[in-house]
Symmetry: C5
Subunit: 355 residues, 5 copies
């Protein structure tokens, strides 16, 4: 993939794209263009094309100012915004055509509505609105998914829920990563005065002179989107924090539950041991040996009673011991005093030294 | 929600707000205004209105300087501070009317007290005082809640407490997030000399010339609030650290308790096995087979005694072995030596190389 | 507490303070002063008084340069240093009068020793020396406390030690926080050339002109203290790291111990099952049914032997199986090979593409 | 190793290297050169040679601008790029000759293709392409390895998989470290305008004057590679996050499984205790004592039935108790109310103070 | 310790040091000097002496430029480098005299070799070489120690190894801290142009004028050492990461092992219960009650067979149930589908709003 940069086989030399003209009308739908032609026509560096070649997944999002164009590669959108045209590169295998058609619809409308922002910023606005919709939609989806699972855990802790939690955690992690990268890509642009100035394509084309720092319009536009992406990143972090603290507490609860099970097990074991002692007594008298009690009238009743009594005493003793061990608390007699003043070392002894 | 930016249905075009005039007198209570009218009247960007539209929850707090106004959106307060008026936007569904009325009362009073700070800074001060009260009140509330729970854990560790701990942890996390964002919003203003200068609305209106760096008055005001919010953030972190270390130790205690339960279980099991051996002996002599001891005079007593003896020996042996395993300590004979000097590799061998 | 800023009830209008004159002689001890008077006399902002009002706990430490004074609020010291006087504000409820009297003694002595640093820096030096003593004393105290506990854990791991560990961890956390804030407060001053220059109060009073960057004397003084506080922060972090790694290892040891207990339990259970099989055999022959072996001469001995043999075989088989399961190691046959070279994908296949 | 800097034994004075001339033709293959000669010929500092001496492993990657050369030491490549030659230092013990020959092939080809970038940047490009290939290949390899293991864990959790997970985690950690250092080394160059300017070796040689900030060509080249390395670092972090969350969930699942095993154990124990009670009853009637029921007709049936009934009742009672304990959920009656409004402390009481 | 700064008792007024003259010849060995004399002679601030007083342990390493000297305090070396002399302060209680003598030998040799770097930088070079040797030696030592332990854990996981792991972890943590502080101390110098310029002591003494930014020689020297310390810090972090991941996996393995032990325990318990049921049957027929089967011919065989059959059935049933519970996997039928596309919320419904 990396080595592909320099020279590609012919089949890779084509890119499919949709072009909107200066009136916002779609001129070409998924037309095929040769990469070298695109470079020459839009005065791009061949290296730049990698960023809009949709066959390469997992790209870090970027918004780049070039000589005659803004190169946008954020989430599902790979576009080339010029002063009088917008070129959208097809994202192969994109499963969400609805998102794409929504975006195209909004873009067309926005480009037609002249007045206000210049052409290239209206295109940028539509792109950012679509990116924000996509992020927000996924965030809402994940919030519901995970919120629902955490609510189910309120009712019942079981293994299958953990498995689902793992799958959701991974998705949330991937989403957080993606959202942060989008935020960074916008902020990267905002930090560079040169890039901001270079994005006034209409003025550049009209050869209007601009002061280097005069780009408040664009700054306010980008800042507004950056804040909204930050809100999404923030909420994703809150969800992630909730998942984390739930996991920690669930572990404590499982631990406490295990102790409770062990304690019950112990009770049963103690009972079994008690019974065993009774049975041993009975067994001894069941031996075919002469105990001389064979014919004693109340021997059966009294030995039986004695065996049961021993059983009961042993059981009761064991349970008392268990009760002692089970009492788990954080405080001990000694350490429960109120926190002492924060300094308590004798400083006077150091006095003479300071003289 | 995102797409709403551009064009809204008519029902969303109205905002409810309360207006105080330059004397601090409430002129309008919850009056309805059209968004476009507000933009024109106060020379705002339509995009700015999103920040004060209280129907959008979870906004990142911001304090923004605009041409003729300061736009404040922090926690429960969404306001537009001008040189001679304060416009408070109603927060729908705010459950805490007491907090709101307290704020209004303080604001009115502060605006009436002329002298000292200019009008817009007195308004800002009241807003920040209210925000600080709200943060502090919640922090105190959470501190008591969690402090109480941790104190209860001192007395008794059980599952229900963990569940409450989870709920409190989540709330604390959300609070920490909120407080940090408030702090960041204030510090963001402090870092930008331009924004600070732009906030002297009265001077701007009076067309008084100001040096770019001359904003000590405002800086001291904001820094003072920033420090106080930092104190709250700090305390929340301390609470959070306490929760964390308590969780860790509780887990260790549950683990140690489990080992204690297991050890008792083992004692019972060993006892049961000992009894079982006695019972086996008795059982063998209980078989309907001729052991030739049937009529031996003291056979019953001696076999019984032997069975009980074997029981006792086996039990005692088992308990000794258990005692050996239970002794858990960190030190072993070898590794308990004092820490050796921090360097011990022979360096002399390297000598010739350095020649 | 927050709302108290603006207007206080009369009882809160007074502050108690101790004043030293330009010769280092104590002029007033715990005299009462009205807040407004203090503001006017020392040209302070009313908001500044909050920082030296000792009734407010948990303040973030600050060292602030004001028009005619340096405002110090670090740990137990709240002071106003002027070009010819030092005003110490009483800290109510401070339990450590020894620390305070030590400080006063050092301060008096240092102020009297003329020559070298100017008056205000000698005062600042005494304050920082006292702060450093306090931090160091507490650090030594905590190091001994925690070191002792960790040494005890070397000998014996039990629940009570965990409880103490929790209490010490909390104290250590609070101390680390406090020390870091002190460090930050000093470094904050060092970063601001303006503040450093503004602290040359004697020169300001004498109306000596100073270059903005000429403050090496003060910088060296503050840097030296900053380094020493850094050393303390560093050591506290080391202690905290030790506590952390001890907790982790203790958990592993408890886990391993639990496995050892379980294994012994299993041995006992296996023994019990073996005995049970013997007992079953004996029980069957103890039934009041005709087995036709009743009178066979060596039946008793052979059946007994058979029963005991079966017991032994079953027990031995169980113990062997247990031994297999217990062997816990990290390596498996397959994965124990030495780490392979860090790249092993065939790259030659990619060759043609790079053409 | 460290002391070796100053003076080396003669055998260490030689370096093996491959040289390409200005036409991209290999002039010398693995020729031996004396270190001092290299220093003089290429005007290098003797200290610089350490960075390209391939006998020292684990070097932090660096790209350094020197008077007449660019010194590159990244992963498997140690090279000296000049305005008209490239000197590649042999990496001893490099196991991957394929990677090396691929690199040499690409480099030769790229150097021959004149036009476009200057000679030294074409060499740099080939080096970075090779580094990127190597990183990507390893990342893909690790992703498959770990992805496969995590997929296996989906099917079956066992100990051997954990052992493999440990080995893969370590490799992933080492890879992440390596990739980050490569990224840092590129970004370090990008941050320094001087270094960027100093890398225009051809212009320097031709004594063409250059503006200090005129290095867009090189910046775009390096930035492009930096972004691609960032993508790899990003993906490695995602994999690492997946491993982490899988570990956490696996631990929860093992915990939950243990509780399930314990619960089954308890059922068995309860059953055994129930049986034991029946056996005790039977044992008592099996004693060789006169119970006076010996000849009662239905005594056998009724006592047997009674014993079995007691067994059943005890077992059933125990199982009910177990069922109660097993029910583990996060919610309790009390704490399941919806989250309360985020502030609930009475603020009105504070009212008068704010007056 | 802190208060000692101002005035010391006479016994603390002396420092022992070794002096090398401008030819690299040792003039004085461990001579005693008065602190005030040292201050005056070398134009030092009394506060500076604290940094070279070797009786104070745990100092944060520093390299400081003073008027006529460079003050070095890094690890085992505390030295004062002047334009024509080097003063080494004795480190009391240093256990590693070999390291010290190695250093002295290297220093003497380096000072004698005139040419190349100026006197003071040759001294600095020797100091940094010695520091680097010490760090590297300790790192190699720790790597072997910990590597060996981790390799032992491959073969066998037991408690004693954990205890050793704890001790090694603590040492590694302390080493990491130390190495990072050394790195920071070098980088602190590199960041300050003033300090770098001030270190050209020979030029200062010769009153040669120097440009403020002309210190490439020193920068290259320090940068080279900084990189090498960074390599060590890096490797220590890798080791620490390995320890961490090993701990995590060992915990998982212990958990899995515990589950395996529990499962075997369960098998034994189930077997015991099965035997118990057989024994109960036998016991019932062993009662001294009339079952009317006493003389039935095959009663013994058939009842025995029945008892054993019941035993077997119960055991088999229990084991089947256990097998079901033991199967632990991450996947459930539902959640194992391939990951869905990353966005799946219907966006079309939002369409009209965007109009």
């Amino acid at each position: 993939k990396v080595l592909r940069n320099g020279r590609q086989p012919p089949s890779e030399l084509m890119l499919r794209c949709t072009i909107l003209d200066s009136e916002g009308v779609v001129k070409t739908i998924s037309g095929q263009f040769k990469k070298p032609d695109l470079c020459i026509e839009h005065r791009l560096n061949p290296r730049d094309l990698r960023k809009i070649d949709s066959r390469i997944p997992n790209l870090v999002p970027t918004i780049l100012a070039r000589k005659e164009a803004i190169l946008v590669n954020v989430l599902h959108i790979r576009a080339l915004v010029k002063a009088d045209a917008v070129i959208l590169f097809d994202t192969y295998g994109s499963p969400d055509t609805r998102l794409q058609s929504m975006f195209l619809y909004h873009l067309e409308h926005n480009l037609k509505t002249k007045g206000g922002l210049p052409y290239e910023f209206r295109a940028l606005e539509s792109i950012l609105v679509s990116v924000l919709s996509a992020l927000e939609a996924e965030m809402v989806f994940l919030r519901n998914l995970i919120g629902g699972l955490l609510a189910e855990l309120e009712d019942d802790i079981d293994r299958d829920k953990f498995k689902r939690l793992l799958h959701y955690s991974r998705r949330l992690g991937a989403f957080q990563n993606r959202a942060k990268l989008v935020q960074e890509s916008i902020e990267e642009v905002l930090e560079q005065d040169e890039d901001l100035a270079a994005m006034y394509l209409s003025d550049k084309k009209a050869e209007k002179a601009r002061a280097m720092n005069d780009h408040e319009e664009l700054e306010v536009l980008l800042e507004s989107f950056a804040k909204q992406v930050e809100e999404i990143v923030n909420e994703a972090e809150t969800i992630s924090g909730n998942v984390q603290s739930t996991q920690e507490i669930v572990e404590l609860i499982l631990d406490a539950n295990r102790n409770a099970l062990l304690a019950l097990d112990l009770k049963v074991s103690i009972g079994t041991m008690g019974i065993g002692i009774g049975a041993l007594a009975a067994g001894l008298f069941g031996m075919n040996l002469t105990s001389h009690l064979e014919e004693v009238p109340y021997a059966f009743a009294s030995i039986s009673a004695a065996a049961l009594l021993v059983s009961t005493i042993v059981t009761w003793g064991g349970l008392r011991r268990l009760a002692k061990i089970r009492k788990v608390a954080l405080s001990t007699n000694g350490s429960r005093n109120k926190s002492r003043p924060w300094i308590s070392l004798p400083l006077r002894r150091r006095g003479p030294e300071s003289e």
